[in-house]
């Protein structure tokens, strides 16, 4: 697949730019400004019904619709991939309702909407990453009452969260939380980084880009401004560690990136490939070759197979 930087297309008629009406955008924009001013704090907002079911990124879509301008270039990823149903349909949604340019190239995008991953390529100052969040409250499974979790955040009373991580250690010998790993933002609020693998947590720390989080069903928006301290919770004797992989990517030979396991057959065959499809493609274009990368058939290369 190649980067699809289509030129401006005329948006669908009958809708406002980027689908949402202006009053809704203003309400969401005010929530975004407050979220930036209080890093990691969950701002309630009047989430709207979107033409897609909850769980498909209605929160992220509303945030993206509210920040998007006609000159923005949008990239959408789902589990690191530009090609999955969720990513393709959200990209199409904004192409049709806003007529903005879309891309799969991380470096070209000004707005990146994501579900479950942060791109491998570090984000720059001109970029905004919008996370789709299913459950924004990191304390929810420890304390189901919203009135109580709000009080815990107000008092910065986060002992419960450390107890939860401690119980992991007591039961498994190590902190077994591998995704939605809680972080402390700017030394104050404990925040759920959405179900990204903990592998991506260090990328949130002092990121040059702006990070916005939208939870549609739970009606919360939160943010991490650029260059903000983000610390993954841990203990002195059990420091935070990210996942490591024993093999490089089977297609592009990248090391130190997050890999997906692909089951190949029913006899235990498997391969590990980059979860970030764009980063993997760019590396292969640069000539990096993994152990299981096949040669492109001559016919597809555009070379004649006839002599």
């Amino acid at each position: 697949m190649t980067a699809q930087s289509a030129t401006h297309t005329a948006p669908e008629t009958g809708y406002n730019f980027a689908y949402l009406d202006e009053q809704t955008k203003r309400m969401i924009r005010r929530a975004i400004l407050k979220a930036i001013a209080v890093p990691g704090y969950q701002v309630p907002f009047a989430s709207r019904e979107m033409p897609m079911p909850y769980g498909w990124g209605t929160g992220g879509v509303q945030v993206t619709a509210s920040i998007l301008g006609p000159d923005d270039v949008l990239k959408v990823i789902d589990q690191g991939s530009d090609d999955t149903t969720n990513a393709v349909s959200i990209r199409k949604f904004f192409k049709r309702t806003a007529g903005v340019r879309t891309t799969t190239r991380t470096g070209e995008a000004t707005v990146i909407q994501t579900r479950h991953r942060i791109p491998e390529q570090p984000l720059g100052e001109g970029q905004v990453i919008v996370y789709q969040v299913p459950i924004p409250e990191p304390l929810r499974f420890l304390e189901p009452r919203e009135t109580e979790t709000r009080k815990l955040h107000a008092l910065a009373e986060y002992g419960l969260m450390h107890v939860k991580l401690y119980e992991d250690i007591a039961r498994h010998g190590h902190i077994a939380t591998t995704y939605a790993y809680p972080v402390e933002v700017a030394g104050r609020y404990i925040m759920d980084p959405s179900p990204t693998p903990k592998f991506d947590n260090p990328k949130m720390h002092m990121m040059a880009g702006l990070q916005l989080f939208g939870a549609g069903r739970e009606k919360r928006i939160y943010a991490i401004p650029p260059y903000t301290q983000v610390r993954s919770l841990d203990f002195e004797d059990h420091p935070f560690r990210i996942q490591t992989f024993s093999h490089p990517c089977a297609l592009c030979a990248a090391e130190g990136v997050y890999l997906d396991e692909v089951v190949m057959d029913d006899r235990g065959g498997r391969m590990f490939v980059c979860s970030d499809t764009d980063s993997c493609e760019e590396r292969r274009e640069q000539g990096h070759r993994g152990a299981m990368l096949a040669d492109t058939p001559a016919a597809l290369k555009g070379e004649s197979s006839h002599v």
Binding site: E22, V38, Y41, R150
Partner: protein
Amino acid sequence: MTALAHGFGDPVTDAQQVFHAAMNALARPGRPQPLTSGLEPPRPMTPELAAIALALADHEAPIWLDPALAAASGAADFLRFHTGAAVVADPGRAAFALIADPGMPLPVEQFALGTAEFPDRSTTLVIAVEDLSDTNGWVLRGPGIADRQSLLAAPWPHALADIVRLNSAVFPRGLDVLLAAPGRIVGLPRSTRFVEEI
């Protein structure tokens, strides 16, 4: 009876661009962001104050006016017509406070500071100044600033030192500030601290 000054020429794009400047301003405190406003509001309201109000205020977000604007004929009518927002006398009810005269003291502690549970329910102050520069001046630190950021506003708003001091005392409650000079705005969210005062 005088004719009402016009609003945004292209309400959708203009509002997005003003919001974009405000978002970047608060995300990168102290760093000036370009803001173009084609508005000609009744004086002493500046085109930048008007642009921020029209982009962000509506019937859910009441506006408080400083004495200079409250006394001006047409300022409140202009805002009511174009935003649908209530213009309130009680600073504690305001989502946005528009301040045209930075030299006057402000009722800093009477604005909405938010609550411990809902710190977002606080007033955003939009203060007009004549010039903004980041080459020298006060030194800022905080989220959104890689290391240190300089800021100089002319004239220096009378209430700003009080606001920043209050913010550090009551965080996460507090007041967020946008400084608006001709063609550029600067954000000072409540998380920003002054490390060196000049």
